[in-house]
Symmetry: C2
Subunit: 421 residues, 2 copies
Amino acid sequence: MSLIVQKYGGSSVADAESIKRVAKRIVQTRKAGNEVVVVVSAMGDTTDELLDLAGQVTPLPEPRELDMLLTAGERISMALLAMTIKGMGVDARSFTGSQAGMITDARHGAARIVDVTPVRLREALDAGAIAIVAGFQGFSRETMDITTLGRGGSDTTAVALAAALGAEVCEIYTDVDGVFTADPRVVTKATKIERITSEEMLELAAAGSKVLYIRAVEYARRHGVTIHVRSSFSNSPGTYVYNPKDGETVEEPIIAGVAADLNEAKITIVDVPDIPGKAAEIFTLVATTGANIDMIVQNVSAAATGRTDISFTLPKAEGLRVMQALETQKDRIGFSTLQFDDQIGKLALVGAGMRTNAGVSAKLFTALYEAGINIEMISTSEIRISVVTRADTINDAVRVVHTAFGLDGEQDAVVYAGTGR
Amino acid sequence: MSLIVQKYGGSSVADAESIKRVAKRIVQTRKAGNEVVVVVSAMGDTTDELLDLAGQVTPLPEPRELDMLLTAGERISMALLAMTIKGMGVDARSFTGSQAGMITDARHGAARIVDVTPVRLREALDAGAIAIVAGFQGFSRETMDITTLGRGGSDTTAVALAAALGAEVCEIYTDVDGVFTADPRVVTKATKIERITSEEMLELAAAGSKVLYIRAVEYARRHGVTIHVRSSFSNSPGTYVYNPKDGETVEEPIIAGVAADLNEAKITIVDVPDIPGKAAEIFTLVATTGANIDMIVQNVSAAATGRTDISFTLPKAEGLRVMQALETQKDRIGFSTLQFDDQIGKLALVGAGMRTNAGVSAKLFTALYEAGINIEMISTSEIRISVVTRADTINDAVRVVHTAFGLDGEQDAVVYAGTGR
């Protein structure tokens, strides 16, 4: 008998009808002879509604109380799901994060998992029941308080339970068919990826693919969990995110996919003294703001002036904070002006095959050049090349790159209403 | 420093504005130098909305899962209240029933309290914080599961914590000014009762007064807790429900108040053989339906026939079930017909002073007779007289009795919109 962990997001359990539909799928999995653990998010917009209520009573909610508040969301969905399955004549029991043994540190709102002890889930499974677990939430042994893992935490709960219980696969149900070679809303010929390594998936997620949360993929990679991303609206297989064994030859396509991100902005620090330690000084300062810096580019120094420009990208929402921090240290750093540009787009080409295939960058740059798209920044990792272009050219850029690397499918991809999440 | 337990019902925390208003009152109590424990119900109609959702997914929700579902309601209100108080700069911490040490048996939906161990509340109080506790919910040590105490459970939670923590008083906040000598919507001259014994309060609650739940009053009586029922919309004192010490002379008015109940129906079993054991047979059968029988009257047997009629009252909602049960056993019991009458009203006159004051019944019957109101059934306890009349005469009956016993006040009582709960 294999053990399968299934995770259903908020849109899959948005109302009574959706919950009944999901319950049927879970019961089918159980009746096919599997042990089933289900991780569930809060219904539809519940979390946002609770956050809104919190905002109405106080401008800066106490993190401990905010966690207490938000965990009510999964409590509702898991209880409804369990009673629906029970009503279908199949044994099911719901468990809070705490009851499921999701032990975390005490960092409210962004708790890290420190231990997973699913004793009660194992007991329920041994008794023949389906275990329904609240995603997103945990329990701190240190403070005896309820915690949450932060947005996307339900994916992480599912992967962590799959690891702790030795599940065969962790199925993440969403409202798209799987991971695509590019966003099907932009590239109509985008094709569903059947198999992708967790390393590639990490790069795609970091580059803007929203199907899986980076944190869950990282956890899966570290603990050897296979993820199956699939649609809760169909029975067709989705995308397997797997971990190749050491030395295993990955006979996969060179390129896994193309991702685009329009949520970043670029800050340029103009006329910085080109002396050792300057970059360290700047980014130590930026780090104090807690901003997530992505790409960094330093122009070649103009020999005559001994000064240089430094550009970096970061999420738009963090722009103002970082600009202010830099401005206060203008004299100490010694730059002349700051430029803020939120009209950029970032394209990332990801593929484990890049490691051993020369010419990938050349092909990428050529495709963009032939389409008349200007490249403003470049950064690379072992299995990823990212470029920054003007925001209004990013969709064209994704399409030409998708075609250039032979990723276009025969047919147009099916795009559901309200796709993405 | 005295410890005060305050309980706020759903209408007192129905939205963000109400929560802020309640938070101010709690902070005032704390700043007046008291230790404060607050018990809170779910916001407004949350519980009914959750029950409705459950009904949408399955006709007969599993009790364990229903408890898991419903307890989300108080989790939301207590977290919002705690963060509101925190936002006002006063330390506050919320606790679930389980965290507050409300240990119950495992009877889901109607759990009984078996132990109260408010260790974490005591710690929070010692640290100078206000403790906010979810009402209505508990935890079974036996099954390690979450339980609920049933409707009105929040009052019981408050009284139980007041007992366990040795509180000076348990304040139950509601949307009326206190307990009245009669329903102010019926008797305009009804007056607020300043002090009433828990014994009298029990009889009033059993007779239809909806201000306090019987169970909470019973708990308070058994554990010597003083309850102060008051309005969350004003600062004036409400009604103290107290426990006279042994031998204490109760120098209170003879009559505490008049209550009326229109939710009962009467079943009459016609032509029952008047032989020993027949009543036992009938009410053993009725007991198997779980119905709550109130008054029972057996007519004098007609000597010629050797047969009698037996009437009893019960909540209307339970009528059909009991009628069906009796009908199936018609031949065995040997009656001729069943009559169902849901047009009755029950009036109860309550007062500890009755014990030592003769003539109370005579005065009651005379007042009703003079008003032309017919009495259909009579039942008495040591401190209560109940009579059944036609439903459409019950309000007149309450008014004439209220006047006859000198309970009318000088001024009309203030009736709030949406009074009662």
